[in-house]
Symmetry: C2
Subunit: 279 residues, 2 copies
């Protein structure tokens, strides 16, 4: 049985269409701002789907009280899928006195859920903070499926070396070449990006990253590829945490921008629902 939180409302239609059995829940807010949830059905095991984009704290607390309602109702095994997990970038102490906020979130979710599934977590090592079984799922199937035909015999690029595994996973599903950009300081004030060991002239290119926020790197990379003679330039990311105006800016610089539906945005055209339903 699938339970759909307010942060997964945008996935409900597709989940139902693809045959997911959805357990009805009532989710609303009291006039004072407190969330109210109620589980309208029975069962022993549930897969709760709740993405935690803004207002992220509301969705985190909602996941907790949904878990409480399900336990109270007698559910024995609760699994939680969080397509986009808030606070995942607050994964280490950079300045003295900072929290590891993702640890607090993981621990709180662990109070009610036996298993946690996330997509393309910023730092997969932080899964250890979740007390139960925790898995980081790949967006590769979804991205490869969406861009496969458009790419043809193109090339898949990561914006930096750290993102290479993601690009590689997409490329290998499509039997395509892959590589990454590297940054080189060409003067005290200027850093140049260039794709490593790959010829892009006359070829379609897909750049794949985990999160797009301002989109600055993507635009820089796309402009460079254009100069190098690339044919069509596509940009994909798992999580579209777009800053104001970023969708428009990136869209203008490339042939197509698409992100997964971990967060609902106007360009969330890549669906993770089949991956969720296979859990």
């Amino acid at each position: 049985m699938i339970v759909i939180g307010s942060g997964a409302k945008h996935l409900e239609e597709e989940i139902r269409r693809l045959g997911g059995r959805v357990l009805d829940v009532e989710i609303r807010k009291f006039p004072d701002g407190e969330k109210y949830v109620r589980v309208l059905g029975e069962g022993k095991e549930a897969l709760v789907v709740q993405s935690t984009f803004a207002p992220q704290d509301e969705r985190i607390v909602e996941a907790l009280i949904l878990g409480d309602a399900l336990r109270e109702k007698g559910f024995k095994k609760l699994r939680l899928v969080v397509p986009y997990l808030a606070y995942s970038r607050q994964d280490r102490v950079t300045k003295d006195g900072e929290p590891i906020s993702i640890r607090a979130v993981m621990r709180a979710l662990g109070l009610y859920y036996d298993e946690l599934y996330v997509f393309d977590l910023h730092n997969p090592e932080t899964l250890r903070f979740f007390p139960g079984k925790a898995l980081n799922l790949s967006p590769a199937r979804a991205i490869a499926e969406y861009f496969g035909e458009k790419l043809g015999d193109g090339v898949v690029l990561a914006p930096d070396r750290g993102a290479l595994e993601r690009a590689k996973a997409v490329a290998e599903r499509l039997g395509l070449e892959y590589s990454h950009f590297e940054k080189r300081r060409i003067s005290p004030t200027e850093i140049q990006m260039r794709p490593v060991d790959v010829d892009v002239a006359g070829r379609n290119v897909l750049i794949v990253d985990d999160i797009i926020s301002t989109g600055g790197t993507m635009i820089k990379a796309a402009n460079l590829l254009r100069e190098m003679g690339a044919r069509r330039i596509f940009v994909a990311a798992t999580h579209g945490v777009f800053a104001e105006g970023a969708i428009e800016r990136v869209s203008k610089a490339v042939d197509e921008l698409a992100v997964t539906n971990s967060i609902p945005t106007p360009v969330s055209k890549i669906s993770l629902v089949p991956d969720i339903l296979s859990l």
Copy 2:
């Protein structure tokens, strides 16, 4: 050392003025809506003050990441004062399928805090959900101090029998008489309220409750007291969870309305800070 969360910012000036040693913290939001906190000081024990009025979920999550930052910084003992605890009225399953939301909140706070202090909790039995030591503090000192002189030799009333202990605690501090209202069905559609075993004619009256939201009960009680010849009518409550327009409506019906500063409102004239500093 006292740590002041965003839900206790309105208490900071008084906490400092009354000699509280405040540990500096940085609390802000990232553009995507995630909270960021940073502890700017050292210590082994801290008393975190965080009231959880709206946006309540943000303040709950903030309390967790503040706790995480303090633990990471080496604090050994963390106590948490929550003057107004959100979700405290979601304390039981009224309809099948509901959560006990306050349990989820208590358990989450218990991940980081050794002790929990709240004021005038809706259902003190729910303190058992907090894994550590948990105490329900009385607003009686604060309310008695604020209204003592104004009341003179008046009487303290509870709006119903269930609220009698609170009225009694205030009255006993002032050496005054106390009683409560009772509701009596006088026709199939009409319920009459009346104060039990007390003569209010010519006397000042203070009605004390835990929460005022719409204020309907208070207004009804005040109008009745007026008819019965009461002199000055005061209304006090611990938590001013006012619905739209309620402050104005209640204020118009009584001589003075005042609530504690567990939630900052235009009538939060009764301070809990001395009680907090005595912890």
